[in-house]
């Protein structure tokens, strides 16, 4: 019986993941596995030029291959969808290239065949004639370049916080965000010390092991999409918009995802399979290869200039930040990243005078989007490296410098929004304790030198966004939870069930979580930006409360004791048998006040603050520059943890991923062409790259607005890994690296330069 009413607290325990058995026996469903009767496989031919007008696409040879069902180009798509452009911030991305290609690797034509090998062979035969255009690759150059990626910019107007975007001509600037607080210019004039440094980050890849995949199934009345997507509700709206259909004629179903990390948000392959399936009237599947992921979405490379005025005591009085984001050929969510990360660009410090300018730029590289941190890891890389460089220059201990400047509870952050429930100080202090910062540190000898470093970062959540949930109680007391949060590995199914169970007073295991299906599960903005625990968690909690209240009301109406009557008894009394449902509904959208366009000020930019800090101990081989992280300590404020085991895995998983971004991951481009599009040439961390010691801690904290005090944590582990390592390198061997990745060669070159014997290029 699933009706026991008091199984004990559900939030705060770590039941095994509900999908454990399915995943461990190879039976968990992924879109990757899906086969529909009569299904065609689509393979893409891609642009070989970074920027060119398309004169002609020659598909004859491909069509001539036996077994090829159809070959589609952008013109064919335009027959079905007159304006075949999509994108969350700008409607700038064509489903298949039209008139022009804007990066090497852009989808040009789709070959459909029953046998994927046939489609692949045919796709390799497609050729295009191009008229090459000047291209721009660097984000800083893109500010002034005469190479213009988009002739006209067409804002999408989808998100309330991007409503102000206006169409523009002849610029590569998709969005510029500015923030002014106090008078930074004047403060610099009177400053005791002024420090200015420039930092760089590289393009990296999400590289989920399940590459992008979508299937479209054209039905009688409805088009069904099975897609590995983090944003089923958005996909439904966007596909309906493209087709000019009502939302209810598009159905989006999402089973498990083989990883997402921000890649599988908004529309990726969905518009392509939808259009293809409607044209050929058969189910169509497009499953990208590992290689093709490199041509789909990357993480923004950025150039960050940061300048601080510091007084004699080591207090930062003013800070100026300029950030250029390399958005690639299509804006994707880049403008939002530019804006949201701009809010916290000066770091978690209490600074009176602040000036921020942040620019989202188009270039002729594959589009960049959100990747576990929404721009924050890039910023923390800059401001936490900068922090240590200042502390060193002033001979202040890096921890003491941070303590002195830290933003405290209740103080106004750069946007003017007050800090609330952001455990910056607790996180920093726990990190210091775990690192035994005040104890002497063994520094190594000979060619092996040891060092340690710390970093701390924070993030404003993405706002305002909406989540809706439904809890349905059956007559035997068992429950369904309907929500469109996508479990892509972060364990949300388990955590959401715990939240609902806590309210209903039943065991989390007794709740069935229905996977996203837009015909069934209600709206959710997307599973991204660590927003689900807070936003969907609140919606789930409200839905469960609504269901519980209705049950109680029903019991009272029947003259039963609401709190103690077993649920089945209530139904039996009402319907005379095991029958009926009680359905509770909850929705959540936090308050938000848009920032002023000129000053970037707002008293309410975020419903909650995320905090993450990292400490590392490292060894540097001074003869080769090789860096080995021997200890990795991850701290975060996750509010009250709903499921401590899952939080732990999120923290170390994020930190290890960022370790790869810090030390070796890099998409290499040669004249706009990706030069290392495979797992053989683009390396990600494996077992041997793992630091021998990894520790995670979510500090004791409470988030006032979160469900049972909880908030998101999926990205916090990434924030401060990179600067902590760079800071530890300087601690170990006295050299500073300001560009990612910190390769062994970069460290070795810095060592040689510091000895006055620079290594030839």
């Amino acid at each position: 019986m699933t009706s026991e009413r008091t199984p004990g607290p559900q939030v705060g325990r770590s039941p095994p993941r509900r999908e454990a058995r399915a995943k461990l026996s190879g039976r968990a469903p992924y879109v990757h596995d899906l086969v529909l009767p009569g299904m065609l496989h689509g393979k893409l031919a891609r642009s070989t030029r970074p920027h060119a007008r398309i004169r002609r696409i020659d598909t004859a040879a491909a069509r001539a291959i036996e077994g090829v069902h159809a070959v589609l180009t952008g013109d064919d798509i335009r027959q079905l969808i007159p304006q075949p452009y999509h994108g969350p911030a700008f409607h700038d991305q064509p489903i298949l290239a039209l008139d022009k290609v804007r990066y090497a690797g852009e989808p040009l034509a789709l070959v459909l065949a029953s046998d994927p090998h046939v489609a692949q062979t045919a796709a390799r035969l497609i050729e295009a004639e191009y008229e090459e255009l000047p291209a721009v690759y660097d984000e800083v150059e893109a500010m002034r370049s005469s190479a213009i990626v988009h002739d006209v910019l067409k804002p999408a107007g989808t998100f309330p916080d991007l409503k102000h975007l206006a169409g523009k001509r002849d610029t590569n600037v998709a969005l510029d965000f500015h923030l002014r607080r106090g008078n930074a210019a004047r403060a610099f004039e009177h400053a005791e010390h002024v420090f200015e440094h420039t930092f760089k980050t590289q393009q990296v890849l999400h590289l989920p092991l399940e590459p992008f995949v979508s299937v479209a199934d054209p039905g009688e009345r409805q088009l069904t999409l099975h897609t590995a997507s983090q944003s089923p509700s958005f996909v439904r709206i966007e596909i309906a918009r493209l087709l000019g259909w009502p939302e209810n004629r598009v159905r989006v179903q999402v089973p498990f995802l083989g990883g997402g990390f921000g890649a599988k948000v908004y529309v990726k392959l969905e518009a392509l399979v939808a259009a293809a399936a409607l044209i050929v009237r058969r189910p169509v599947k497009v499953a990208l290869t590992m290689e093709e992921q490199f041509y789909t979405l990357t993480k923004h490379a950025a150039t960050l200039r940061i300048k601080s005025a510091v007084d004699a005591e080591g207090r930062i009085s003013a800070r100026e930040c300029e950030v250029w984001w390399n958005g690639g050929a299509y804006a994707d969510i880049g403008p939002r990243i530019t804006q949201k990360s701009g809010f916290t660009a000066p770091g978690p410090y209490d600074i009176e005078h602040v000036s921020i300018d942040s620019y989202a730029l188009y270039t002729n590289l594959p589009p960049a989007g959100a990747l576990r941190g929404f721009g924050i890891p890039q910023l923390v890389w800059a401001y936490e490296s900068h922090a240590d460089m200042i502390a060193r220059a002033l001979s202040i201990d890096p921890l003491a410098f941070r303590r002195k400047n830290l933003l405290r509870e209740g103080r106004a952050q750069a946007t003017g929004t007050l800090m609330r429930d952001a455990a910056l100080d607790t996180v920093l202090e726990r990190l210091a304790q775990r690192m035994r910062w005040d104890e002497p540190f063994e520094r190594g000898s000979g060619s092996v030198r040891r060092g340690r470093g710390i970093g701390i970062g924070f993030k404003a959540s993405i706002s305002p966004t909406t989540s809706v949930a439904i809890v349905s109680v059956s007559a035997d007391g068992s429950c369904h939870l309907l929500c469109s949060t996508v479990d892509m590995g972060q364990g949300s199914d388990t955590a959401m069930a715990q939240i609902a169970a806590e309210v209903l007073g039943i065991a989390a295991e007794d709740i069935t979580v229905v996977h996203p299906d837009t015909d069934v599960t209600p709206f959710d903005m997307a599973t991204l930006g660590s927003r689900s625990t807070y936003h969907m968690g609140n919606a789930v909690k409200r839905a469960a409360e609504d269901a519980r209240d209705r049950l109680f009301a029903l019991a009272a109406e029947l003259g039963l004791a609401p709190e103690t009557t077993p649920i089945p008894e209530i139904f039996r009394r009402k319907y005379g048998m095991q029958a009926g449902n009680v359905v509770g509904q909850g929705s959540f959208v936090p308050s938000y006040i848009p920032t002023d366009h000129a000053s970037g000020q707002s008293s309410d930019v975020t419903p909650f603050w995320m905090v993450g800090a990292t400490g590392v101990e490292i060894e540097v081989d001074t003869e080769t520059g090789q860096v080995k992280v021997t200890r990795l300590v991850n701290l975060a404020d996750a509010g009250r943890t709903v499921n401590p085991a899952i939080v732990d895995t999120q923290l170390s998983g994020a930190a290890i991923m960022q370790l790869g971004f810090t030390l070796f991951e890099q998409i290499e481009f040669r004249s706009g062409q990706v030069a290392n599009a495979s797992l053989a040439d683009y390396k990600i961390p494996g077992m041997h790259d793992l630091p021998p010691l990894i520790e995670n801690e979510a500090v004791t904290a409470h988030e006032h607005g979160g469900p049972f005090g909880a908030k998101g944590v999926g990205e916090s582990g990434t924030f401060a890994v990179s600067p902590a390592i760079a800071n530890a390198i300087e601690d170990a061997v006295g050299v500073r690296v300001t560009a990612l990745p910190i390769t062994a060669e970069a460290v070795y070159r810095a060592l040689r330069a510091s000895r006055g014997e620079p290594l030839a290029q």
Partner: protein, 160 residues
């Protein structure tokens, strides 16, 4: 097109079967066609281990193995059931330790961990890392995976 199909016969998770395969088909494609989805192609280059299966008692990457070469072999996949509740010690330990996130790499890690424990019932942490270094997990559940293998080793010892 004379990509002649060939009939092969082999044992799949203990059951004798016959299948018609094309010469270019690899083991993952064949298994997927047979409705077994646990071995999946990800990198397609032998590097990640998502496509791991056992052929005649040896773990191989299905993405780099021609299906026709399965003729007259014994193939075991992650779908092979164990014991009363269908999961062996390795799977139970992975569940207990939460040694997965998205689960895409998980079948490969489970199968390789099983191989490791068969060859080396008491592996050190270094030996675990070494043996599993040919499997990649982008969710980086590595610390949990190491703990799970250690737990599975203890569970196996306790049983025998």
């Amino acid at each position: 097109m004379s990509t002649a199909q060939r009939i092969i016969r082999f044992t799949l998770n203990g059951e004798a079967i016959a299948a018609s395969v094309a010469p270019h088909e690899n083991v993952v494609e064949l298994l997927q066609r047979l409705g077994l989805h646990g071995a999946r192609e990800s990198c397609g280059q032998g590097l990640c281990g998502c496509c791991t299966v056992r052929v005649d008692g040896l773990a191989v990457s299905g993405c780099l193995y021609f299906a026709v070469q399965l003729d007259a072999t014994c193939v075991d996949t992650i779908e092979q059931p164990f014991g009363e509740d269908g999961l062996d010690e390795v799977q139970q330990a992975f569940a207990q330790c939460g040694a997965f996130q998205c689960g895409f790499c998980t079948p490969g890690f489970v199968l390789m961990s099983r191989e490791l424990l068969a060859a080396n019932p008491e592996p050190s942490e270094d030996e675990i890392r070494h043996y599993l270094s040919g499997n990649l997990c982008r969710c980086a559940a590595y610390p949990e995976i190491i703990r799970a293998v250690q737990l599975a080793a203890r569970m196996r010892r306790a049983r025998s």
